[in-house]
Structure formats: structure tokens, C-alpha cells
């Protein structure tokens, strides 16, 4: 029972308190790149959630079952990025063959995920924090949910911005970054919470 509570608190913390975008700065590139519309943002978020949960499991297994027994811990970066790249490729092929509807919705976002630092970041953090298998899975899944939450909120804000008329040199990215800063300020309200 205690273990279950611990897992739930870990997940809540990963979604709100240690949000990947607003407090850890992981995955900013897709956050700024694919947040023009809420529905594409949601698609990207779901694709990241899918890949990140699977990659958390795969990288944990490879690290503890292959790298540690052979004393190859220093190869973790190379090993993890290869696992993520091939996993993304595999998911893409699998979806195209067996779940074409889902492939149609997520397909275009999948290749972008290989270079999404949130995925590699969560794999490395799982190892750094010494999580066990279930904790890694929960952490990967819930930080991806946090990412999805952030990107969908931000896409909504950006739609409002597109109707506004900021000064000329602020148009486009600068005003989007300032909006992100304001959302981050709101999210920093969670940082005082102790679980």
C-alpha cells in the first residue's frame, strides 16, 4: 500500500511540480515548434507519451540487464539514443501496418521524437534517480503527461496571441516565449508543495 501511495505521489510530482517544460526545460523544441494549434499539440503530446513510456521500460531493462553486468555504464548515452531511435522506427512500422488510424493521427510526429530531449532526458533521469522498473515506467508516463498538459495549454494561449497585435519586433517567437514565461510563473506556484 505504501508503495502504491509513493508511486502516485511520484506521478503527481512529475506532472505538476517538476513539469518537464516549465521547471526542467526538457522538450522545448517541440514545445515551441508544434504548438500552433491545440489538436496538433495534443497529437504530439500523445505520441511523446506513447514513446516515452515504452522507452523508459526499454532503457531501464537494457541498463540493468546488459550494461551493468558487463560494466559498460559509460556507454549509456549512446545505448539509450540508439534504443530510442530504433524504438521510434519500430513503433512507426508497427502502427502503419496494424493500427492505420492511429498512424494517421500520430505518424508525422513520430520522426521528430527521436531528437526530443525529453525522451532521452527521462531515460537518463530514471537511472540517475535510481528508480526501480515500476517507478521508471510511472515516471516516464507521468512526465510525458506533464509535457502534454503544458503543450496543450500553451497552444490555447498561442491561439489567443495570434489575434493580438504586439509591437513588430515582438511578433512571432518573442511574444510566445514571454507567454511561456508567464505560464511558467503560474506553474512555479506548485514548487512549494512537498509530498
Amino acid at each position: 500500500m505504501d508503495y502504491l501511495v509513493e508511486i502516485l505521489l511520484l506521478m503527481l510530482g512529475a506532472v505538476l511540480v517538476e513539469n518537464y517544460i516549465f521547471s526542467k526545460f526538457l522538450g522545448i523544441c517541440p514545445f515551441l515548434g508544434v504548438s500552433e494549434k491545440p489538436d496538433t499539440a495534443l497529437g504530439m503530446g500523445l505520441a511523446v507519451t506513447f514513446v516515452m513510456t515504452l522507452s523508459s521500460a526499454a532503457t531501464w531493462a537494457v541498463y540493468y540487464l546488459i550494461l551493468v553486468p558487463f560494466g559498460l555504464e559509460y556507454l549509456e548515452t549512446i545505448a539509450f539514443i540508439l534504443i530510442i531511435a530504433s524504438l521510434v522506427q519500430l513503433i512507426e512500422m508497427f502502427l502503419r501496418k496494424f493500427v492505420p488510424a492511429l498512424y494517421g493521427a500520430l505518424g508525422i510526429y513520430l520522426p521528430l521524437i527521436t531528437t526530443n530531449c525529453a525522451v532521452l532526458g527521462s531515460a537518463l533521469l530514471n537511472i540517475q534517480n535510481g528508480y526501480d522498473f515500476i517507478e521508471s515506467l510511472a515516471y516516464g508516463f507521468s512526465s510525458a503527461l506533464g509535457f502534454t498538459l503544458a503543450i496543450v495549454i500553451f497552444a490555447g494561449v498561442r491561439i489567443r496571441i495570434s489575434f493580438a497585435k504586439p509591437p513588430r519586433s515582438f511578433r512571432g517567437t518573442p511574444i510566445a516565449l514571454i507567454a511561456a514565461g508567464l505560464i511558467a510563473m503560474a506553474f512555479s506556484g506548485f514548487s512549494g508543495m512537498k509530498f
Binding site: 516549465f22 521547471s23 526542467k24 526545460f25 526538457l26 522538450g27 522545448i28 523544441c29 515551441l32 559509460y74 556507454l75 549509456e76 548515452t77 549512446i78 539514443i81 540508439l82 531511435a85 527521436t114 531528437t115 526530443n116 530531449c117 532521452l120 532526458g121 537518463l124 533521469l125 540517475q128 509591437p167 513588430r168 519586433s169 515582438f170 517567437t173 518573442p174 511574444i175 510566445a176 516565449l177 514571454i178 511561456a180 514565461g181 508567464l182 511558467a184 510563473m185 512555479s188
Partner: protein, 240 residues
Amino acid sequence: MSNYTLKDFKNQLLDGIIFKNPVFMQLLGTCSTLAVTTSVTNAIGMGLSTTAVLIFSNMFISILRNFIPKQIRIASYIVIISGFVTAIQLLIKAYLPSLDKSLGLFIPLIVVNCIILARAESFASKNSVLPSAVDGLSMGLGFTFALVVLSSVREIIGSGKFAGIQILPDSYEPAIIFVLPSGAFLTLGCLIAVMNKIMYVRNKKLAAKKRALDKAAAEAELREIADEYANDMNEQAEEN
């Protein structure tokens, strides 16, 4: 490569640092940009390690560009890049342990810094070794420059220090928001806006200069036509 001149070198360097600056102009590598710029020391460390990786990976990819099959080029680039990143990571861990502690996760994350893959794909895979190395150097210096500017603003306003040395008087109340995550977004947004403003003014000046030149050229042409006409008239008058 044989006719690579000093002028090409200068142009590439200017492109990387100012006109195509990876952070301010192309908005690449934002994750590490925002995360490590809480202090100038961190910014310089991050900038230089990224530069080193960029130079080596660009050179290596450029050497191998004719051997890597097109279909698997991205995967091969990532393996090459992560090899160099691991080397840099081990070097930093051995010789600069304090930097390793403060940059933490973001050293291995250089692998997925979009600047490196973007340069590999758009430059190193099409050009020979020397220009690719220079490209890596200039883009890396541009990245470092952007990080240093961003981190100086954040560190001076946010904690009254520059590179760890107190420069503002003790009576200054530091605005902590600037070292918090939201300050990173706000500062980068404002800096990009300033950069846009500078570019607008510069483009306007260039356009005005060009217009003046065009006008002068048009006037000269008109004068020529008028002179010709006058000559013709004179000749006709003489004939009559």
C-alpha cells in the same frame, strides 16, 4: 576546398555568430539554452563543450559523407555525435568535476541538441572537411555568444553577480524571478525581440542605401540619354 579563401572564412564566422545565430535567429537548442544560463560560468562551459562536439562531429561526418548510405544517415549521425558527446562528458567529469555537477543532465543531452544534427544534415553532409570544421566553430561560437549574453542578463539582475563575483552593491535586492525558470523564458523572449529590432533597423538602412544608389544610377542614365539627345540635335543642326 582548394579555393577556400579568407573571405569565405570571415563570412562563415559572421553568419554563425550574428546573421544565422543558432539561438537568436534559428531558435535551435533552446532546451540547454534556457536550462544552463543561470550563471555565466555554466553558460561558457556549456557553450564550449557544444562547440567542441560540433567541430568534431561536423569534420567526421564530412569525411564520411560519401560512405554513409542516404537512408540511414540520421541514425549514423546520431551515433557519431553521441560518441563525441560521451568523450567530452568523460573529460569534463575527470578534469572539471564542479562544472559536471552544475550542468548535470545537460551534458549527455548535447546529443539531442538540434543545432548539431541540423548542421550535420544541412552543412557537413554537403561540404568538404575544412568548411565543415569552420562551420562547426562559427555555429558553436554563436551558441556560446548567445548563452553568455542571456546568462549575463539573468545573473546580474537575478543575483547581482557576474561569473560568481559580486558586482552590484549589497543594497541591491536581487530579482530572483530571473534565475527561476520563468525568467529564462522572459529574458530569451526580450533578447530575441531586441535582435529583431536591430535587424529591422539594419535592413531599413540597407534598403535606404540601395534606394539612394538606384536613384543615382537612374539619374546618371537619364543624363546620358539627355546628352545623347542633345548631341543628336547638334549634329542635325550642323547638317542643316
